[in-house]
Symmetry: C2
Subunit: 80 residues, 2 copies
Amino acid sequence: MRATVLVRPKAGILDPQGHAVERSLRQLGFAVGEARVGRIIDVDVDAATADEARAEVERMCERLLANPLIESYEIELGTS
Amino acid sequence: MRATVLVRPKAGILDPQGHAVERSLRQLGFAVGEARVGRIIDVDVDAATADEARAEVERMCERLLANPLIESYEIELGTS
């Protein structure tokens, strides 16, 4: 089962990459407000049910994919 | 208007970060197939309509946020 994990810096956490994107967009002439940059991880999980897959991906997030102190994550499950 | 851009390495394009994640997950005991890592960019766009916002964010992708040669992107529009 294909899972997608969206990892974002938590509100209030400094995001230098987001600031750089924001500045560059403005320099290019775009009218933008705040920009924040995170990661997206697509991974094929070996699981029989969606619930099982979600629990497994949650464990992956806690152990490797995200840093829960400074990042929040969302899990989306697809098919295939 | 809040826009979210999902930037992913195109199929067939080498993704060393994805490989590293894949290997690390397996070392931790997770049964996973391929993993791919991309970026997620949340940005507040100054636009009157959703169509206008989408067109503006597409220009941002072509000029800065993605490298269309090796990356694909998806634009999602939220509210606020």
